[in-house]
């Protein structure tokens, strides 16, 4: 049974999506239940997968589709799934965020995508199938097919938002297609040179035939990186992201912001270490290592400054994502295990804190009715529970212990020091300081606010508010996800040593 876990994680939401499309029109209220159940099952299976992978001495589940053994003289003839501890952790993050986000969408779905609730739930479940598939597959072309699935679903999900969402989705279509084409071109070159598509086999052939020096392999690597960077919104290629995530329906934004870019960072690490290998990527003969670290420094600084310049909270958070992508790309390119493991740990911790902040921001925007930071006076008094969640996420983004944001920054900075890349270390510290300014600006307004305005704010004309305290919270279906998310921000921080050691052991194998 356990060997089938990888495919079951994909099949449950896939069937969930089919059921939702089929039954949705007649019973729209059951769409939520169906997706909740299917994603719940899927995340339980992925939790068990972590346990299996960790308890098993082999530490890697290999699942061959169609039962095709490597029959071509040891080369894979079919498609293989490969789940190690890293993949299992990311898959759990994807399915669990999907599950929690479905709880959040309970009341929002009907309000924001009237009449199309079944299609929303079908698309979001297919998006989760795509993301999990990307993480688990061990086949370079299958990865492309699944990138296609995630892209198409996310274009549709974003375009379901308000009128401006359609245009931002169109921008994303153009950029996303260019990115995917670059990736496909790179895979095509690899296939021409090696004659196989399996990631492990490609690395083996590249090594056996000593193709490292070949110009076409170098170009293939550059193209795949460009494609992946476009998809993850690495700084000069980030143009599509802020509008797309800010104007999408809120329950789409809360799901896509924490996961889409992080899964692509995972793909980048996979491509670097598993497809091309340590020697090729970090060796001195190519100039790109220094260049890319400088690019990530630029991404961090530019992302932070652009975020600082925004007054719209959602836009501000989307620019912070751009900066966070810079953290991870830089960490992965430092060329030592600490940096890579830091980048990988940051995938998880950034997913948790971005999720937390996006839910909190969506709740606040919904209640205040205005997304500008100027309108956030006295929020601590009006929505104390929401603001607790927001504070946890914000402190993690700034990087204060014991939140996970502190530890991921700590590991990334140690990696930077180890590699002697001081510009990267400085950029991280700079970004922390900017984040502190950004969030304390909000705290100041929300905590001290306009004292004079308190009386009007608490006037009984505010029909939803509790007349005694003026507290005006949102339904439990939004608060519970927020608290789960902020709980995970703290949990990941407390468990950082264990997680980091797991990640380090898994990555060390590929660094020899």
């Amino acid at each position: 049974m356990t060997e089938h876990f990888p495919i079951l994680i994909l099949l449950v939401p896939l069937f969930g999506a089919l059921i939702v499309v089929l039954l949705g029109r007649e019973r729209p209220e059951q769409c939520w239940v169906t997706s909740l159940v299917s994603l719940g099952i899927s995340s339980i299976i992925s939790l068990f997968t972590i346990i299996v992978v960790f308890s098993d001495k082999v530490q890697t589940i290999r699942y061959r589709m169609g039962g095709w053994e490597p029959e071509a003289n040891g080369y894979e003839v079919g498609i293989e799934l490969r789940v190690d501890i890293l993949a299992a952790l990311v898959v759990f993050a994807v399915t669990f965020v999907g599950f929690v986000n479905t709880i959040y969408s309970k009341t929002r779905a009907e309000a924001e995508v009237q009449g199309k609730v079944p299609f929303f739930y079908a698309l979001i479940q297919l998006l989760i199938v795509g993301l999990c598939g990307i993480v688990m597959t061990n086949d370079a072309f299958n990865l492309y097919v699944l990138i296609e699935i995630t892209s198409l679903t996310s274009y549709a999900l974003i375009a379901m938002g308000n009128r401006r969402a359609v245009l931002s989705s169109f921008n994303y279509v153009i950029m996303g297609t260019i990115g995917a084409s670059f990736y496909l071109l790179g895979v095509g070159y690899l296939y021409i040179k090696t004659g196989t598509l399996n990631i492990d086999d490609i690395r083996m052939v590249l090594g056996n035939d000593n193709l490292w020096e070949h110009q076409s392999i170098v170009v293939a690597f550059i193209f795949i990186m460009l494609g992946v960077w476009t998809k993850m919104a690495f700084f000069p290629l980030h143009g599509w992201l802020p509008n797309a995530y800010a104007y999408a329906p809120s329950m789409t934004g809360t799901f896509m912001a924490p996961l889409m870019t992080k899964v692509m960072v995972y793909v980048m690490i996979r491509v670097m270490l598993w497809l091309f290998g340590y020697e090729f990527v970090y060796s001195g003969q190519h100039v790109w290592k220094e260049l890319i670290i400088w690019m990530s420094v630029l991404a961090i600084v530019a992302g932070s400054l652009l975020a600082l310049a925004r007054t719209d909270i959602k836009k501000m958070l989307t620019y912070l994502i751009v900066a966070e992508v810079g953290y991870m790309v830089g960490g992965a390119w430092l060329g030592n295990v600490t940096g890579q493991a830091g980048a990988f740990y940051h995938i998880l911790s950034d997913a948790a804190m971005t999720f937390c902040l996006f839910i909190a921001a969506s709740i606040i925007v919904l209640r205040v009715g205005d997304s500008r930071v100027n309108a956030f006076d006295n929020l601590f008094r009006k929505m104390p529970l929401t603001m607790i969640g927001f504070t946890v996420g914000a402190l993690s983004m700034i990087g204060l212990p014991p939140t996970c944001g502190f530890f991921s920054k700590w590991y990334l900075i140690s990696g930077g020091i180890e590699a002697g890349q001081w510009e990267y270390v400085c950029a991280l510290i700079f970004s922390s300081l900017v984040n502190a300014i950004i969030f304390f600006r909000i705290f100041e307004r929300a905590y001290f606010g306009k004292i004079a305005g308190v009386k009007e704010d608490l006037s009984p004309s505010d029909s939803d508010a509790n007349p005694d305290t003026g507290i005006k919270e949102v339904p439990w279906s939004m608060l519970v996800p927020l608290f789960i998310a902020s709980g995970f921000v703290l949990l990941l921080g407390i468990m950082n040593r264990t997680l980091f050691e797991w990640i380090q052991t898994a990555l060390e194998v590929m660094n020899t």
Partner: protein, 249 residues
């Protein structure tokens, strides 16, 4: 901005050119992609292990059937994505009576279409059914079948085509197609094999394990054809009426 675009195009072009210098020469039979271990296996062993003479279909529907399953899902997503973005459930604008000029094309076009439609559909079904022995398969046959319904809508008006292939029915067809494909894979799981390992189905299909693979390819091609047909028609009807489904072109 234009200058920047030009520079980017120039750089990418240079990269593309520089990569070609150590490509295998044009038509080289000994290049890695033609002569590698994997290609040789497909070329030499396909018929022996799957009993399917068309090795393209065997790669598509069996060796890499997992990819094809997701390609079908891509088509499905494209269809429901268009509905999700475009479909206008508020119904047609009551001030304009769309049905009035929904009579389709003129007499000549209608007569021609009613003559060729049956042949298009028969040929489409042949392409689906014969995909694992000759060029063709679910995608191609499905597109032809979908095109036949689009032709019906063009010639006789969308409302007539919708009486045959209503929106509800298109959705059911699309879902059933995926369900056939994925369900067939799950059946393999239930019988103790890996997902999409058709060879374990020999216990319920006539013939041996190789023959089971051959039959299964036909089954999944039929699943693909269902989805593609339905989604082609659904896309056409949504795009041509701005999501109102109430008026043909």
């Amino acid at each position: 901005m234009k200058v920047f675009g030009l520079v980017a195009v120039f750089v990418v072009g240079l990269l593309l050119l520089s990569a070609t210098q150590d490509f295998p020469s044009w038509g080289n039979p000994r290049s890695a992609a033609s002569d590698g271990e994997v290609s040789s296996f497909y070329i030499e062993k396909t018929e022996a292990v799957t009993k399917v003479p068309n090795m393209v279909t065997a790669v598509l529907a069996d060796f890499r059937g997992y990819d094809t399953m997701f390609e079908t899902v891509v088509i499905f997503i494209a269809g429901i994505g268009i509905i999700a973005v475009l479909r206008n459930f508020e119904g047609s604008d009551s001030s304009i009576d769309y049905d009035n000029d929904d009579n389709g094309a003129g007499l000549l076009a209608r007569f021609t279409c009613s003559l060729i439609l049956p042949f298009i559909q028969i040929f489409a079904l042949y392409v689906v059914a014969h995909g694992h022995h000759s060029p063709g398969g679910g995608f191609q046959g499905g597109v032809m079948l979908g095109a036949s319904y689009i032709l019906l809508a063009l010639a006789f008006g969308l409302s007539k085509a919708k009486r045959i292939f209503s929106e509800r029915r298109t959705m059911i067809f699309a879902v059933v197609g995926i369900f056939i494909y994925v369900g067939w894979g799950v059946l393999c799981l239930l019988l103790g094999g890996e997902f999409l390992n058709y060879s374990v189905l020999d216990s319920i299909l006539p013939g041996d394990a190789m023959m089971a693979r051959s039959y299964s390819m036909l089954v999944v091609e039929i699943g693909v054809a269902f989805t593609v047909t339905a989604i082609m028609f659904s896309m056409y009807s949504n795009l041509s009426t701005r999501g109102r489904l109430s008026k043909g072109l």
